[in-house]
């Protein structure tokens, strides 16, 4: 029993030490902490949206169309952020909209990480034809501006939030494949891999147990940055009418709805825009902090 538990305990405390030193490094970055706090609040709001929203997000209150927010002239506490052109409560729409941001970001990152890592590792372990095939395929995707590629894909799949997320994931995957392959190649030359190989480890074991954990740091940073880009791109697609469809309270779609009132009622576009900006900014700040904490060498170097 004790023979078994000792390495486990050692592993556990090693993990704790890594986490502790990670947190120590991460805490040094004030911006990253602010970002984490904002995202924490937003996550709380998104999870408990049903409990805290004052109104139904798609219910139309026809007697209060385009009511300004409470701090503006003509505003009232009944609708704190005002109402849109159809009389829907903006605050409730904003709260439910936060769910879409997490939904979009998580699903896109899930696909990017899984597909990107698998393809990247396959390319790194099968040098030659298969590697070339995968990498040229990624070059093709990267030859198109990402938003254009996403638009064309949504045109094929049909406009909906789910298809927009698939399109965004496809456009982001090449970055993950390239990063994984480059990291894996640099790890493959190291001694621990050759010793593991000489002890008879299978390719699968080498890929996922030996090499992959050592490639994770830059992938985590890339995933964080892509989380925010996914939110931006999904909002852009929603804005162009190719993402979430009305009446879903997605922030980009809300911006598109408010577009014809920008000169008469500019507050209507202000709130969703600010929400997108702060969310994306917070995630980017967290990404910066993660980069500093996970890889001190990269601290001053490339972005």
């Amino acid at each position: 029993m004790s023979v078994e538990s000792t390495p486990n305990q050692a592993q556990q405390s090693a993990l704790m030490a890594v986490l502790a030193s990670f947190w120590f490094e991460f805490r040094q970055n004030k911006g990253a902490l602010y970002g984490l706090v904002f995202i924490g609040i937003l996550a709380f709001v998104a999870i408990f949206a049903d409990l805290i929203t004052p109104y139904d997000p798609i219910e139309q209150y026809r007697d209060v169309l385009k009511m300004p927010p409470v701090w503006a002239e003509g505003g009232s506490w009944t609708h704190i952020f005002g109402t849109d052109a159809l009389g829907r409560d903006q605050l409730s729409r904003m709260i439910y909209g936060s769910r879409y941001s997490f939904y979009i970001g998580s699903i896109v990152i899930f696909f990017c990480l899984t597909i990107g890592i698998v393809l990247g590792l396959i390319a790194a372990f099968n040098r030659g034809f298969i590697e070339n095939l995968i990498m040229r395929l990624m070059d093709i995707i990267l030859a198109f501006p990402s938003l254009l590629m996403a638009l064309a894909l949504v045109a094929i799949l049909g406009p909906s939030l789910e298809n927009a997320m698939i399109a965004i994931a496809v456009v982001f995957i090449p970055h993950f494949v390239r990063l994984t392959r480059a990291q894996a190649l640099s790890e493959l030359g190291k001694d621990y891999v050759s010793s593991s190989k000489s002890m008879g480890a299978s390719t699968w074991r080498l890929m996922f147990i030996n090499v992959l954990p050592n490639c994770m740091a830059p992938l985590i940073v890339q995933a964080t940055m892509s989380f925010s880009s996914a939110i931006l791109d999904a909002a852009a697609l929603g804005f162009l009418g190719m993402g979430a469809q009305p009446p879903s309270p997605e922030w980009g779609t809300m911006l598109a709805d408010s577009r014809q009132y920008i000169l008469s009622d500019p507050w209507m576009m202000g709130i969703p825009g600010l929400a997108i900006l702060f969310t994306v900014l917070s995630i980017n700040l967290i990404g910066d902090g993660l980069r500093d904490a996970l890889d001190p060498k990269m601290k001053t170097a490339k972005s």
């Binding site: 040229r136 030859a143 094929i156 000169l263 825009g273 700040l285 972005s303």
Partner: protein, 337 residues
Amino acid sequence: MFSFLFRRMLVLIPTYIGITLAAFAFIHVIPGDPILIMAGERGLPPEKYAELMHAFGYDQPLWKQYLDYIGQLLQGDFGNSFVTGRPVLEEFFELFPATLELSFFALFFALLIGIPAGIYAAVRRGTIFDHSLMTISLTGFSMPLFWWALLLIVFFSGYLGWTPVSGRISALYFFDTPTGFMLIDSLLSDEEGAFKSAVMHLILPAVALGTIPMATFARQSRSAMLETLSEDFIKTARAKGLSPFKVTMAHAFRNALIPIVTVIGLSVGVLLGGAILTETIFSWPGIGKWMVDSIFRRDYPVVQGGLILIATIVIIVNLTVDMLYGIIDPRIRKEGH
């Protein structure tokens, strides 16, 4: 240098074949029959439908259609628009100068402010200027482009009334556009006030489109400068008694150029992508708006041809950036990888 370029171009051939395949596949995987879409609401009698299917070659086997398509592309035939009936290539070259003009000034604005600000922040590391620049640039980097463009319109066009909201020039002016660049054409036209109108129309979209690249340039040039400023040869240069300005510009900046040129090259894809949103918001008649309109109108030959042409631009720019590396850093040219 030439063998380096040649090898670099050889690698492009499979990529390019893939791009044409992707564009070719686009029209076949898209839901709906292209002929019926072209016919529109009225529909078609069956014999006319078969005739059109044959005329467009849609009744041929796929591989033959693809080879025919490549043959047409090699002759510069990108097909005709379903909507206007005009050759896609002709429309592209008519609209491209508008996008080029917009992107050029966006890039100019981004470089003019982004790079000096980044260098200055690196030299004055840790000062208030450095911190505020990094905060501003991260904010710019996180800005939803379409929202930023709308904010600019609300403030400068709506509140201050300084700039027009859309288009390239006021509707009051009529003149020939031999170059397609509105600033040049308006100067050539001798119309009074035309040039000013063109400039006023350009400012807001260019600033909107240039903001995100500007933030990227500032961040990148700061970190590249920080890296070179800590190198030994900088200490030597300082020890020699060179002026701080000369050390920064002649020694550090030249060596920081590689990563900076890389982001400038990468930003062209960002600019073309951003042009889609900027042109749509400002009704700027360039290829970004053309592509969005064509996607909405299901004008598939335009989408197909536009995808290939835009990918070609991105590839040419990447190739140019690779060539620039060779010029900036002779070591890369010699190793030739």
